[in-house]
Symmetry: C2
């Protein structure tokens, strides 16, 4: 096991009706003038925004608001948010929405106290100061409600880049699974795929002797394998929604990933897809992740056998471990297909002829990635090709 620090100071406020406590928690964590940041019309239509505002007003907390966050959130709106916070004297950012809204909120939070361009932090600079951020979560997916990470897309050139710092960890996150019940199945499934991918990026490691985090990873994956099809079949199933929502947070505070090298190449390879086609991140992952597995599994067949037997209920084939490993990957892809995810380029709306452009954009040049298996540009092209042509 590697040395590590684990720090997850967010207060999670979980369950039915908890959004009515938003104002109380903003006050508890010192906010006096809040920017409510959100995306499209659903939080307005559902009445959630009004409930949040009422809770703020009841607690004497003033607010400004900025909607319009898109999936794959853009730098352009971040600049607008920073200006608004400065002119309105905002001292606390409240994200009401999903991963995109939270990521956009974190970018605003980092930009307000900074003299330069906030994009510096998405180009390698480390943040040590930010306005406090909190969230009212409306989709189980990104894990951004408990993480110190944020991913933003620069509109010019559709460049998708991330940043991470403990100062970006939300002070509190309100998580009411009921709020996710109105989500279309496709978005629910995209979220579930993202959650599983967050675990797999940590699960496939070259660090040995990490039983506790292996088992915690498998705990989240087993939960997702059980609960996701239930929610797709019955969108109003509160308990299944609740299990998925908490699993999504556990998957990404890093409690399942400490003490081990991690991979994250599938996320990187996917980011180019969602940047180019503006597709959902989870859908891109559904296409990329099994393809990545098929490309790398020979690096450690036994680890894929572990996944196959412990997560996907395969019987170990002791005469042919490779068969077991491949069966596990097959079951994963079949699971994704079963919850309505695309499994190849055609279903995603991507084009095989774009692969050279995707690889170019990945920007590896003659280098190699880091992670479970170090990948060259040629390797990445091959993973895109496997993804393009995959079938059940």
């Amino acid at each position: 096991m590697n040395n590590f620090n684990f720090y997850s100071p967010t207060e999670f406020v979980f369950g039915k009706g908890r959004e009515d406590e938003t104002g109380r928690y903003v006050k508890k964590y010192g906010g006096t003038k809040v920017l409510i940041h959100y995306g499209g019309g659903s939080v307005v239509r559902s009445g959630l925004l009004d409930r949040v505002k009422r809770s703020l007003t009841e607690n004497g907390v003033a607010f400004a608001e900025l909607g319009g966050v898109q999936p794959n959130p853009r730098d352009t709106l971040v600049y607008k948010g920073i200006d608004l916070c400065r002119s309105e004297g905002v001292d606390f950012i409240l994200a009401v929405g999903g991963g995109s809204t939270i990521d956009s909120s974190k970018a605003i939070a980092i930009g307000v106290p900074y003299d330069g361009d906030f994009w510096d932090f998405y180009s390698g600079k480390h943040a040590t100061e930010a306005l406090p951020v909190a969230t009212v979560l409306t989709i189980a997916a990104a894990g951004s409600e408990g993480s110190g990470n944020s991913v933003i897309t620069k509109e010019e050139g559709m460049l998708k880049r991330g940043t991470g710092s403990d100062v970006l960890r939300p002070r509190f996150s309100i998580m009411n699974p009921e709020l996710t019940q109105t989500l279309p199945s496709y978005q629910t499934a995209c979220g579930a795929t993202d959650i599983m991918a967050h675990v797999f990026e940590r699960y496939f490691t070259n660090t040995t002797e990490v039983e506790i985090t292996d088992r915690l990873c498998e705990a989240v994956l087993l939960t997702m394998v059980k609960e996701t099809p239930r929610v797709i079949a019955d969108p109003d199933n509160y308990d299944a929604r609740a299990n998925i929502m908490w699993a999504g947070t556990v998957a990404h505070t890093n409690i399942v990933g400490v003490g081990r090298d991690q991979d994250w190449n599938s996320h990187g390879i996917e980011h180019e897809l969602s940047a180019l086609y503006d597709c959902a991140h989870g859908a891109g992952l559904a296409v990329i992740m099994p393809a990545w597995m098929e490309f790398v599994y020979k690096h450690n067949v036994m680890r894929f056998c572990q996944m196959a037997t412990r997560v996907f209920g395969c019987q170990m084939n002791f005469e042919s471990p490779e068969t077991t490993a491949l069966e596990g990957i097959r079951r994963f892809r079949s699971f994704l297909h079963g919850i309505g995810m695309p499994i190849n380029f055609r279903e995603l709306g991507a084009k095989e002829e774009d692969i050279p452009a995707l690889v170019e954009k990945f920007g590896l040049g003659d280098g190699r990635t880091y992670g479970f298996v170090r990948l060259s540009s040629d390797d990445i092209a091959e993973i895109y090709r496997i993804a393009a042509r995959a079938e059940l």
Copy 2:
């Protein structure tokens, strides 16, 4: 799933040699004058205390010190610590040791800013203020390094009582598994038993539809089942020690227990044993927990079958689920015996004729406990009797 809050703001600083960073972290969390609180001679003999002091001095942090914490830590030393902190102007408590030292430190931290008797907080009063506490952990067991809980024994009458508050959660905890390598096997096994008990107290619940926390509980238990015998056989196995140490923290921050009713009756029933005989808490739990299971399993046979199959590798007997449930409990007791734990009163050094006194001390009167199964005084007496006479 029940509504819940989850809040675990402690920064965990984990791995080889990390105690040399103690001073830096005390400074980071605002300490200027520290009380170093510790137990017996082992932290002195091992040189750990000197390394911690050196780190403090290098970082310009002043300190006072108070040793002498006993297992089942006493109120008498707490009073002494409170006086010392006040006279020395201490603003930060650093526990160097295990659960007893940490619990004693928390009691001091709660008492210093309070005008009345600190014991008020162990008699039902809720703490809202305390000096900051941090830990350098030397045994994987109590989980106190990540929890807001503390248990103290009042010397007069050997009354063992607990308190809990978020203000008692350590600011940081330094966790170097190497520091546990010199522990005698018996103490290592006691710690492992305590860790497993912390999970079981949460695992046995009447709340349905809690797959994610069920699976997280099982992740910790499976880790303990694998790693504990390795450490008993090979005390210098760093990786096994590391897995157990992190499992011990995960077991007790409550991340495996949120959203569900919990039990904790075994802990209560055990506390009277360690209070009366001054035995190790983990050893008492090894005797009580399987006995409690045998007494309550009929309340939910399927839950015990889940434990038996998922944690102890039993094959489900579909014709006779009870057989499976009992086989799981048998394997748990056999596991405890295998790591050197006592499994009955004789091996623990307790006496069956003391049962009436133990029940009396539990203080239930005509009432019943809360939890998985509500227990009367007669039920508790019966659990003690099962524990007294248990054999493999």
